[in-house]
């Protein structure tokens, strides 16, 4: 027996998707514009993409790059962010540097990146890496900063070395915030996975999308967008499971009492 509330909650994503598609359909009908196809046209193009073996290989290649870029970014950014959060010196060393490097559009640096990394995988993984690391570093940074000092003192008094404190106290204490960074990172990973293939590409989901864009095949463009959106939902759902398992201790005890309904 499932409670009605549960049914509503389960159905909400589906309803939201249907709602979005409907809004899109109405908007595109109203605009009558070739480069903005109706939702129906886009949905109709999905089987063509997913039925094509080559497209599937393309999409899998993109996902592989994304996984590698995301993995490296998380492994590098969390320690860096935590260190920045706990050490004023490290923070003032890296913070301006990061703020100088990150705003530079990677697309503009392509000629130089190509010089050293070529036009293949490495370049794209680098772009994804940069996209993911941005939120992970800053959320880890803030999370580590907000760790209650007396918790660290307790750890120090138990004989934990500074490094042990970083791993065994700062990391778990900041985990909820770090995971928020990772979640934003996941979103950006999907976006950069596509946009990294904008200028140069061999295979990948972005390949399909930008080719279609160049050719004015807008139903394919939007079908691809839908597919990326669907991948987003799936990855997010998986991530949410992992997150819930890791930070159950931090969930608020009572519901927010501010419903206006």
């Amino acid at each position: 027996m499932i409670a009605p509330a549960t049914i509503v909650r389960r159905a909400a994503p589906v309803l939201a998707c249907i709602g979005l598609l409907t809004a899109w359909q109405l908007a595109s009908l109203g605009l009558k514009n070739d480069s903005f196809p109706t939702a129906l046209e886009a949905v109709r193009a999905i089987p063509d993409i997913l039925g094509d073996k080559e497209s599937l290989i393309n999409i899998l290649a993109s996902l592989r790059r994304m996984a590698i870029g995301f993995g490296i970014a998380v492994l590098v950014s969390i320690p860096l962010g935590l260190l920045m959060g706990r050490s004023r010196a490290v923070a003032s060393f890296f913070n301006p540097l990061l703020m100088v490097i990150y705003p530079v559009p990677k697309a503009a640096l392509m000629p130089i990146i190509m010089l050293w990394l070529g036009v293949g995988e490495a370049t794209k993984i680098l772009v994804i890496f940069l996209g993911v690391s941005l939120p992970v570093i800053y959320h880890s940074f803030e999370g580590a900063k907000a760790v209650e000092e007396k918790m660290l003192w307790s750890g120090a008094a138990m004989g934990l070395s500074p490094w042990q404190r970083l791993v065994r106290i700062v990391l778990p204490a900041a985990l909820p915030e770090i995971l928020t960074g990772c979640r934003t990172g996941l979103v950006l990973a999907l976006i950069t996975m596509i946009t990294s293939e904008m200028i140069a590409r061999q295979s990948g989901a972005g390949n399909i999308l930008f080719n279609a864009l160049d050719m004015g095949q807008y139903d394919t463009v939007y079908a691809m967008i839908i597919i990326v959106g669907a991948m987003g939902i799936c990855l997010d759902a998986i991530f949410e499971r992992v997150r819930a398992g890791l930070v159950r201790w931090s969930e608020p005890q009572f519901d927010m009492p501010l419903s206006f309904s």
Partner: protein
């Protein structure tokens, strides 16, 4: 077995598409040498990639290649040619709406005009034409960048008063009707070369046999493309993912660009274009001879 890194783009390199999709038809590909294909958005990034040594050969437009030579210290040979404008065939043109008050080039004064790439290959002849008709391209019009794919929509939406058209979008727009050709590039120059194949000079000098084999395959690819339209349509469809009915309306028909049967570069025409660019101030004066390799140039058998 050596590998050659090739940059390509869409939509009009049929011989390379054949090499990519039907490698079995070419005795050397995959056997005596390999090709690593990378697709780019436009020719300018490929020039950068060539200059950075990330590519060995790539599709180029005369202007982008010349830019690479002038600004990027690039040394390259033009080894083949993909498409050009032939009299009676398709020429990139600027369209206006049927009911537009713009009747002549001179009427463009004070209007918003779309062009695919500001400072791109078409702008030289375009500027020339405007000047010839008493319009200062820098002051009298508002130039905006409108990619070919959205040209038609931008025009119909009234975002621009005139916009450039290219295949296959031109064919699609014409089929729908409501637009009219204002002028085309052929009015400035009859045999404009749009895209050609260029290889880095140091690469060619080091691997002459390899490049020779590559150019040979481009030549034979062009032959196959022209000989078997049915199959070419299929190949292009696989690469562009554009539906066959759309391709059917123009590809390799009279309303398409011209293709040399042996993919031979038309050096005099290229020189003419370089001259136009020099005249409109986009480039210093250049001699096309520096792009010529004595032996390695299509057609090669």
């Amino acid at each position: 077995q050596q590998t050659i890194r090739v940059g390509w783009t869409i939509p009009a390199e049929e011989s390379k598409y054949w090499m990519m999709r039907r490698p079995a038809e070419f005795p050397d590909i995959g056997k005596t040498y390999n090709i690593e294909w990378t697709q780019f958005q436009g020719t300018a990034p490929m020039t950068q990639a060539l200059a950075a040594g990330a590519l060995d050969c790539a599709t180029q437009a005369p202007l982008s290649l010349a830019n690479g030579v002038v600004g990027g210290n690039l040394k390259a040979y033009i080894v083949a040619q993909h498409v050009f404008e032939k009299p009676g065939g398709f020429s990139v043109y600027w369209a206006v709406m049927d009911d537009s008050p713009i009747k002549t080039i001179a009427d463009l004064k004070g209007k918003t005009v779309g062009i695919s790439v500001i400072g791109g290959g078409t702008q030289g002849p375009f500027n020339l034409l405007l000047k010839q008709n008493g319009v200062d391209p820098a002051k009298d019009i508002k130039l905006v960048e409108v990619g070919f794919a959205v040209s038609e929509d931008a025009l119909r939406q009234g975002r621009v008063d005139a916009v450039n058209m290219n295949q296959p979008f031109a064919a699609r727009a014409e089929a729908k009707g409501g637009t009219r050709k204002l002028f085309s590039l052929s009015q400035a120059m009859p045999n404009i070369v749009h895209i050609l194949e260029a290889c880095r000079a140091d690469f060619v000098d080091k691997n002459p046999e390899l490049v020779k084999a590559y150019v040979r395959d481009i030549t034979s690819g062009m032959k196959k493309a022209l000989a078997n339209r049915e199959e070419t349509l299929k190949v292009v469809n696989e690469v562009l993912k554009a539906p066959l009915p759309v391709l059917e309306t123009y590809l390799l028909k009279d309303n398409d660009f011209g293709r040399d049967p042996g993919a031979a570069p038309n050096f005099p025409a290229i020189q003419k274009m370089l001259d136009i660019y020099a005249e409109t101030g986009m480039l210093p004066k250049l001699d096309v001879a520096q792009f010529k390799h004595p032996t390695i140039v299509a057609p090669l058998q």
